[in-house]
Symmetry: D4
Subunit: 217 residues, 8 copies
Amino acid sequence: LSKNFNIDHKRKERTGFQEIVFGASKYVEQISAIINDFKENNHHVLITKIQNKKAKKLQQEFPESFYDEISQIYMAGKFPSNPVNGEVAILTAGTSDQYLVNEVYYTLLFFGREAKRFQDIGVAGVHRLLEKVDEIKSYKVIIVIAGFEGALPTVVGGLFPQPIIAVPASVGYGVSKGGKAALNSMLSSCANGITVVNIDNGYGAAMAAIRIINNKH
Amino acid sequence: LSKNFNIDHKRKERTGFQEIVFGASKYVEQISAIINDFKENNHHVLITKIQNKKAKKLQQEFPESFYDEISQIYMAGKFPSNPVNGEVAILTAGTSDQYLVNEVYYTLLFFGREAKRFQDIGVAGVHRLLEKVDEIKSYKVIIVIAGFEGALPTVVGGLFPQPIIAVPASVGYGVSKGGKAALNSMLSSCANGITVVNIDNGYGAAMAAIRIINNKH
Amino acid sequence: LSKNFNIDHKRKERTGFQEIVFGASKYVEQISAIINDFKENNHHVLITKIQNKKAKKLQQEFPESFYDEISQIYMAGKFPSNPVNGEVAILTAGTSDQYLVNEVYYTLLFFGREAKRFQDIGVAGVHRLLEKVDEIKSYKVIIVIAGFEGALPTVVGGLFPQPIIAVPASVGYGVSKGGKAALNSMLSSCANGITVVNIDNGYGAAMAAIRIINNKH
Amino acid sequence: LSKNFNIDHKRKERTGFQEIVFGASKYVEQISAIINDFKENNHHVLITKIQNKKAKKLQQEFPESFYDEISQIYMAGKFPSNPVNGEVAILTAGTSDQYLVNEVYYTLLFFGREAKRFQDIGVAGVHRLLEKVDEIKSYKVIIVIAGFEGALPTVVGGLFPQPIIAVPASVGYGVSKGGKAALNSMLSSCANGITVVNIDNGYGAAMAAIRIINNKH
Amino acid sequence: LSKNFNIDHKRKERTGFQEIVFGASKYVEQISAIINDFKENNHHVLITKIQNKKAKKLQQEFPESFYDEISQIYMAGKFPSNPVNGEVAILTAGTSDQYLVNEVYYTLLFFGREAKRFQDIGVAGVHRLLEKVDEIKSYKVIIVIAGFEGALPTVVGGLFPQPIIAVPASVGYGVSKGGKAALNSMLSSCANGITVVNIDNGYGAAMAAIRIINNKH
Amino acid sequence: LSKNFNIDHKRKERTGFQEIVFGASKYVEQISAIINDFKENNHHVLITKIQNKKAKKLQQEFPESFYDEISQIYMAGKFPSNPVNGEVAILTAGTSDQYLVNEVYYTLLFFGREAKRFQDIGVAGVHRLLEKVDEIKSYKVIIVIAGFEGALPTVVGGLFPQPIIAVPASVGYGVSKGGKAALNSMLSSCANGITVVNIDNGYGAAMAAIRIINNKH
Amino acid sequence: LSKNFNIDHKRKERTGFQEIVFGASKYVEQISAIINDFKENNHHVLITKIQNKKAKKLQQEFPESFYDEISQIYMAGKFPSNPVNGEVAILTAGTSDQYLVNEVYYTLLFFGREAKRFQDIGVAGVHRLLEKVDEIKSYKVIIVIAGFEGALPTVVGGLFPQPIIAVPASVGYGVSKGGKAALNSMLSSCANGITVVNIDNGYGAAMAAIRIINNKH
Amino acid sequence: LSKNFNIDHKRKERTGFQEIVFGASKYVEQISAIINDFKENNHHVLITKIQNKKAKKLQQEFPESFYDEISQIYMAGKFPSNPVNGEVAILTAGTSDQYLVNEVYYTLLFFGREAKRFQDIGVAGVHRLLEKVDEIKSYKVIIVIAGFEGALPTVVGGLFPQPIIAVPASVGYGVSKGGKAALNSMLSSCANGITVVNIDNGYGAAMAAIRIINNKH
């Protein structure tokens, strides 16, 4: 089979950030060829949701690379050396959301930002969030991650003035299995101006934050 | 057509409360005959979700009766004269839930309880709830009503020790139209021991409260 | 019945913008009381998705008010006199989305921003969008509205660096009736960093834009 | 990675019972750290829905612990030595629901209650239930578990005056696969005042029973 | 427009019963032409689910005809004069199902059978059904109609040896609105050998009974 | 409000046919302006799914126009005078599908083709179809319309070699209400090479036929 | 743990056939105890949908038993020695439905009937069915099995006078994955008097046939 | 067990192409017998979606055969030696769709056509498609494959006059998991005359193309 991909190398020129690769449904040979294509264009490349086995094979082929098993995110190349702090706060309802925290965190790191994590502050114990209000207020963008009933963004939305990006997690069972209950909860939030990304789309939330931060206007 | 109903008059003996009638899909002649059957057995009768037109006709036939247009609840007979106070607290997220507040309130009143209403204390402004914590703590049972994302029960569940019955309201639009988002949110709550009734089932929540209050054990 | 609402007047202090009122499921007497409560606190008030009949009654009670029949948005008071231009671009796929354009437009106007509208540039005729690229690039935030298959945000996302807020419209029939096809399409977009609000939630998109614009960091 | 959890140790003070841990989506290192955190606060800890492999590892680390393979519930510490009898009756429709019986049973045991089990009394053979009516009447709370069509709670609701908590089981296939048919059946019950928890949420039903039993009012 | 229908007049020869006409989505002129076509072939004709307005017009055109407003069933011609008794029992859970009782009843009558009705014997008051067991046992076929949670067929299925046809009714609200909860409940029944027809398909249940009764083998 | 549409007048150049207008969610003033815009470009214009009231107003403004109440299709201008015959066969399962037959028929007529209609040949009486096999074989394209279970395309697909476009109709009730059962049935057909359009999208099926007929290759 | 089952041994007395056991969600020890309980009551026992591993263990414990891997049906004991022929015809659309053919076949055999199988006569090649019409007409009951679009029962329903029980198979992919497309298709059939059982419920269809055949009236 | 299949060997005579076999739910012995039956009728045979293990066994039995692991398509026999070029263009949005590209490609090859592939030209980088417009215009039929939001067919539909067959891919996660978002997007396309096949039905799209190409009229 001949080359079956077609990297959009001009995306950075148009949007300020390059194309990112979805790894889950590609086979190793495809991804390997894609990485080499990026390399020839002098780009690092970030690959999301890539299974352990496939990542291990790529790490053998590309020794200078990084893989996080929890979020299944892979990076061929090096992270920027002095990431900017203090721009993005990541809030999570529980500890089961760690895989999304990491996907957001490493995507932001890939683009030179180091996020601050405020984890396990779900609103079934709302005082945990209220104690952090002043600290969280200092960030430019808030990313809120929650599974199950996804109630955290509503309380956050009523407390903070910043842009808020909600990420539903596919954590739960019964009616919340797969993340749709959290997604619908976030989309229906009574708090004003919450925006939402797809279930488990930590990478998308990070990119939305980058769009806001990059805003030169 | 001959008589097509069969009231379960022994339910009170078995369960401590009598049968209640669902009005929405019955025609006036049916309901009228049912009321007369209850009367012959010396019972008042409560009819839920009955449309305005039908209720007006019944009020003409049964002058001693009560109808609330907001909740579409109808009662043939008289409410108990000295209802008990201080047992049930009704909490609502917004003011669009008024129809359910009333359905819960009048069902409880039919069984001799006067509930206390704490309305419009949704968690997008969580301080409104926190200010009421001490007062709410004094009730035996908490009924929580919410539409849209249905986040209120989770915060309530983390603050109070009492039995909590959550009622999803069919208030919302887009993904929360019809109340499924609120229902799923409540069923998935991270707070411990929240129980849930059907969307818009204010009457059912009241009955569940009665079961708890009647508990003689 | 006693007062059944509880306006969160401190929301502006916390978030920079005041509470907005959802009008569809409230009855006129409730809304009237709410408007008076805002007035006593010296605030104008914006009410979304309020039916024509109810709005007409309110306009009689509050002569200094505005109602747009297409979007069913109502404002008691006056719009700010010199709104800021050049911050928000509203893009729509078709002309059936006018009701959402107006909801976004008047919400922004309520907060002192006048948006620019680029309408009927759906990607079945992609050249209509490509011709506007340079002009659209000058805005701080892009709001994209689409019904049916909701494809416009994906093409927009690949062309522009700004924050993009996608609004699914409940315009369509068959599998796109109610807007879920457009919603799911937008949430699944292959373009990086698109955020989404609920179906028909033009007001929410405007608020998200305000959060971004207000960003002082 | 630094500590990523934040136990709500004051929940017991507020609600009368401590936080319980959802095990299915946490990795062993997280759970182990959480258990140690509880230990440092002199608490036992109950972990629900934790996979066999992970539980085995924890049992090696914490020798004084209990694991039930059928319900996948794990307890680090000791159950109370003299649990109270006669308060909670667990009714099940079939024998496939054993995993939920055990989750309810051990959660109650963790809080010092020993429940009585009435199993395999589904209403396709309704006489099995009718024979037990007098015995079941003596309990304070009834928990009813059923998969497939979830019909048992309706018959139970018409026979007993107590609070009834229905638990839909994800047992079935075709349209009842995953438990939604049973859930919807329970939510729609014609019997008065049935409350419902999420599919497979045996632990939640137990907590709801605890809320009722703890009721001091 | 030319003739746009094509009656399958040989169906009776093949199956033992003639074609029945679905009225809801046809316009009066179509139905009128269809009736005349049947007449030319010396057949009466049964039309189901035809709206009041349309039926009134047809009754003017065809004076010898019958219309039942409750079930919206229409018959052009005369019912057979000496219908057979004792073959079909119609059981219903509540009184809201009357429209389906009538659709079943008149369809059977059209084919020369007079069914016996046992109404409002839902299992929230299971003794009402148990009292009728001996009487019901004498019929050849049992048709069971229920809305809401649709639990009645399961209890019936465990009590009787006859063929049982369950008809879900679109009676209910919240999760049982539209009848899917009842349908899924009936399809998942733990009782052996229950068969099911579409929601509100009383006519289909009657035809299935006819197939069983006609069985000459 | 200023002009809010943007007709893609170059579509004909690119695709061989012009833009068609969806009427259901546009208001009369919008449609009127759109018609005038087409007129200025010397085009007739076809508007689908436009409600009676709105069409009547347009007919007053544009006397030379056509409206079919059954399909709610409107055409400003004149149909081509000598349409081509013998290219498209429209097959329907029942007579309730007339509204779609007409939408297909008039769309084709707008583009200069007169289709042949074979109606009410559903497979519950399969001989009605088998009798027409030879006649149907002579057409270039077959469009098959069906509601309820949508079984007709499968039998058609096994009998004919031509391109087959299946149109699910929103005719039915219970599980087939809204047309999803027919849609899914058509998409899952065991017959080879059936293609499908959206529910009630008769116009889309006609356009797909035009694409095939126009094929110059 | 003590005995957790409660066989309804009087079901045969009431209904004419004994209880059948659902094997998929029970563990081996439960099933083994259930078989022994049946044995003590001198009954054979049929267990449906039991996984290979579990069945192998049971066959070691109960040497006189039968297991069919394709349908995963297990029988402890012996099939009746002279089953009755000529009563039930099993029709299937394709060869992928074999697992259901076998479940129906062996359930009928357990009750002393040997069914005749007509396989792979789906209506994409409708002549295969038409050739068998006369032969099929001689059976008392027709069971029709189909996956994908489930069109076969509609054609069968128009050709035969007998009782017809349709079984949707979970065979298919995309929109027909899991069998809901076939189920909804069968429930919506335009053919008169088709009844339906749950997806993959071959055993239920066999029991429904037994109810019809046993009919003594 | 006796022979349980019934190949429709006359389909080619009726439709111009032979029956194709769905491999996923058949066991090896069935498929092997089917291949032999085709051989005896001097036909090659194409089997879709057959798992690796089963294909390996068949390749041992039938050495002259072809298997593609990516698409899981299997062919017993030889592909035609001089396939026709220049008739079908396959367009894909990304590289994750390779399995469908191959299913389409090899099905067309089986029928003597060699398709041209234009891969990874999704509209998040719309210039990649625009660059290919002239080349793509030369093909008779366009097949468009896309997962996630499925936006590509809309842009394609607005650019080209040919018949367009859209294939939704089950590539994605969250709301696009399983391919329904892409399917609904394609069915709702604002571009005129797009037709759609089932999710992952690459083979069906190829067959629809064959129907168009074979068109002799």
